[in-house]
Amino acid sequence: MAERRIGLIPNATTNARGADDECAILATDRRLIVTFEKPQIRFKQGLRNYFGKEADAPPIPPATVNYATVDLDQLGKMPQNVVIPYFVVEKFALHMTLGVASIDVKYRNEAGKSLTFTAILVPSEPLIKKNKMEGIRRRDTIKEYGQKCQELFKRALPSSLSQNTEWMS
């Protein structure tokens, strides 16, 4: 049976690569695929990109990726992305702290090492600005975004995992 896409969280912040990074989380019925906004850039490369012509053309444009049709296996195999199949997840927790939702996913990687993926589920600044123009306050946008993320995980996670998860009220 083909892997089914459940939903996409287009903006989250995680320190999975050592520093705060923007990422998108694609949830399917089998796994979470965390795709990063930017490839990991070293300081020297970053300086060259910033002052050179390369900066005008980002190497990977995730904003233009069509997550509805993109090949999931290809997306999962990209070296900068993180893939977490549900069967390796030991604990999934979704918290709401100061109005901002965050997730902690405790799982074991292929080598059997226990890892925790943490991400803060904050909407992107463009969404906040867009909503602001429509009269929706920043705080409400962030809260609503967190609630939608919860709904997405409720739909995506298998029942065994979902039942053991503490959801936001």
């Binding site: 896409r5 996409l8 287009p10 002052f51 444009p61 600044e125 600005k129 709904e151 739909r155």
Partner: protein
């Protein structure tokens, strides 16, 4: 090159010279060369009042032109008042020599007095060459560096603001997804 980068570079082009001016020239030490003359006579002395610009270390050298030994002292205001009144007094620094150096790190004096008097020969006029160094704030350089720091800072902040604005606008126009997307609107599987 995008124009916000010009503001960014322009801002730093002001910040860096401002820092250099501030560090190297604004608080640089000022060296003064002067002389103290001691009139002939047993009780004669020569003195020089030095304004310490609100307190600060003072250091320097002295040398008698004739090569005769002299008594050289550095006194604070109270000590100099006692010295002038011929009352027993102490000193911050004193030496009997034809030449020497002095250095006072204490910063509790508003002004001090460099005093020289005869030590061995009292019949001649004695000329003492004194060089001292004070750390002084150059107001012109301070004003220039502060102005450059403020203007450069505004340019750098404006560059960041423009960069962020461009990024947000570009993302609004290019991004397919701003909000959470549900690809499958079917109810949750059992």
């Amino acid at each position: 090159m995008k124009h916000f980068r010009l503001f960014y570079l322009g801002g730093w082009a002001m910040e860096i010279p401002a820092m250099v001016i501030l560090v190297l020239f604004t608080f640089h030490p000022v060296t003064t060369h002067t002389s103290i003359s001691i009139a002939p006579g047993f009780d004669a002395y020569g003195s020089l009042e030095v304004d310490l610009n609100g307190g600060g270390p003072i250091s320097g050298t002295f040398e008698s032109v004739s090569g005769n030994d002299i008594l050289f002292m550095l006194l604070d205001e109270d000590q100099f008042a006692d010295y002038s009144a011929n009352i027993s007094h102490s000193s911050r620094f004193s030496a009997i020599s034809s030449s020497g150096s002095f250095s006072i790190e204490q910063v509790d004096m508003e002004r001090c007095y460099l005093v020289a008097e005869h030590a061995t020969t009292f019949s001649n006029t004695e000329e003492v060459q004194v060089t001292y160094e004070l750390s002084e704030t150059n107001i012109d350089y301070l004003f220039l560096s502060m102005t450059l720091i403020i203007v450069g800072g505004i340019l750098v902040m404006y560059a960041f603001y423009k960069r962020n604005k461009e990024k947000v606008e570009a993302r609004i126009s290019t991004s397919k997804y701003l909000d959470v997307v549900f690809f499958d609107e079917e109810p949750k599987r059992p």
